[in-house]
Symmetry: C2
């Protein structure tokens, strides 16, 4: 089952020819979740062949332009392509008026229901809980109200051992129940315990998106043991004063968070346009947390 992150943009405020502004797509078993939507996101989706009509949930961290200026374009294109399925948008409350004034000016009445879930809490909360995933906010420390998002895959059913179906002549209609943990009773009354019939599924996987934020230890307990952590690293350590002033992080600080949260893997992104070489980000982070990779536009990361 797929659990794959595609980076559509990993630049910061001013886009460069190298990096688009922030946007990512998380694909959990062909359910697509869009995380932030900087200008040009819909073009990046076309370029990287994201099936963007499959997206039913969009998460916007905060209302700095580099994280949402592509949203109206995406919403409009969905309308033009004839979408009728509901689209859920999780974003700071002001998004509602921003969308409203633009739809009004263009006299556009969306053909599909756009359900806006206005985020206002400063505590972590569950904002989506369905068959596929649970999503929690991760309140971050930035110049304006800002949340990261923690995606936790729902635990999957147990894997039935095929040979046992033959051995005990288990009928098809019983299989789902067994996958969900039931025992199986033979015609002679003997109970075959579930633990003999099935194997435990792979553990549920998780992904945490933390951008934009200053170094902020309060997030550690929320993201503890996460499989994959994207933590912004707008700056390198020699610019840490600038990082502090603008409430961003350095590569070193991102790695400190990854280490303290016992993450499995760290992704660095949201690079300032002032840099042209990125190896130093990787070197700084790896000195603290070895399993680190740099993002680039179009890069894919799979959680096994």
């Amino acid at each position: 089952v797929k659990f794959q992150l595609t980076i559509l943009g990993c630049g910061s405020a001013a886009p460069t020819t190298r990096f688009n502004p922030s946007a990512q797509v998380l694909n959990i078993n062909e359910n697509l979740f869009l995380i932030d939507c900087g200008e040009g996101t819909q073009m990046q989706m076309r370029k990287f062949k994201i099936h963007f009509q499959k997206i039913d949930h969009i998460f916007i961290s905060h209302l700095h332009g580099d994280h949402f200026f592509g949203l109206m374009g995406y919403l409009s294109t969905q309308h033009l392509l004839g979408r009728t399925r509901e689209l859920n948008l999780y974003a700071p409350a002001a998004i509602e008026q921003i969308i409203h004034v633009q739809l009004k000016a263009s006299e556009t009445y969306l053909r599909y229901p756009l359900k806006i879930i206005a985020l206002t809490s400063k505590e972590s909360e569950i904002i989506l809980d369905n068959k596929i995933v649970t999503v929690n906010t991760i309140p971050l420390k930035h110049r304006i109200y800002c949340n990261g998002f923690l995606f936790k895959e729902k635990p999957r059913a147990r894997n039935i051992i095929k040979q046992k179906i033959k051995d005990f002549n288990i009928p098809i209609y019983k299989i789902n129940a067994i996958k969900n943990g039931e025992d199986f009773t033979l015609e002679n009354g003997t109970v075959i315990y579930n633990s003999e019939l099935t194997k435990a599924p792979s553990p549920a996987r998780s992904y945490a998106y933390c951008s934009d934020t200053a170094y902020f230890e309060k997030i550690i307990k929320i993201i503890e043991n996460v499989n994959l952590l994207y933590h912004e690293s707008t700056f390198i350590d020699s610019d840490k004063t600038r990082a502090k002033e603008t409430m961003h992080s350095t590569a070193f600080q991102a790695a400190e968070i990854a280490k303290k949260a016992n993450a499995n893997k760290l992704l660095l992104g949201h690079f300032s346009a002032r840099y042209h070489e990125f190896q130093i980000f990787l070197d700084e982070a790896k000195a603290v947390f070895e399993n680190t990779e740099l993002c680039s536009d179009g890069a894919c990361f799979e959680v096994e």
Copy 2:
């Protein structure tokens, strides 16, 4: 002296991998005028090496997203790059609130004065008149309030004949006056008439941008004898019913307008995403108006 149009995007509503949404830059002697600003315009400027801090005037035809969703990104980047010079924005009145709510949400206070010239008239009017250019609106016929823009270069000074400077020993401080039409008097009192000293400059050049619009003959008298005409051709003739319904034009209709207005050259653009081959647009237009070219993203057109 340069009079050059660069196409940044010539697609219509939904962007494709081939065409970005509408945006163009007119360069008159290194004074840059931005015309429409679809999503991704600032990235296109970087790609096509437009010196985008030189833009002091932005013209927005109408408030369908494919003509302005890149505006906030451009305005924000100017702010981030430290612009302090005034920027003039000519657009339908609702743009003011659209910008305001987004700046407010991001708690951004622009470092430069943004002067919004709200367009509301349904008659052609002069909206800019400076040393370089006169700009008139071209009221168009579309689903919402929409203007094209006519750029007329200011008449240039006469060209002084270099040999005459030597022949009559003309001092440097007299040269500008002579370029502006003055005669020159020799020490012995003889008057050398200006017509002997100078040659007439090349005629002032003009460019008309007409998008989006249904076929609309009222524009003909406004754009009469224009050097370069961009007229939208969202559709081909076989889709003229769809063109009419959506208040767009076909390539054939664009050519009819060019012919009736006695334009020198016609550019076709704003192509619907439904087409993948564009020779048919050219063929249809050329049957009516020979001097036609197709736009493509990054294409440059010079008026000699």
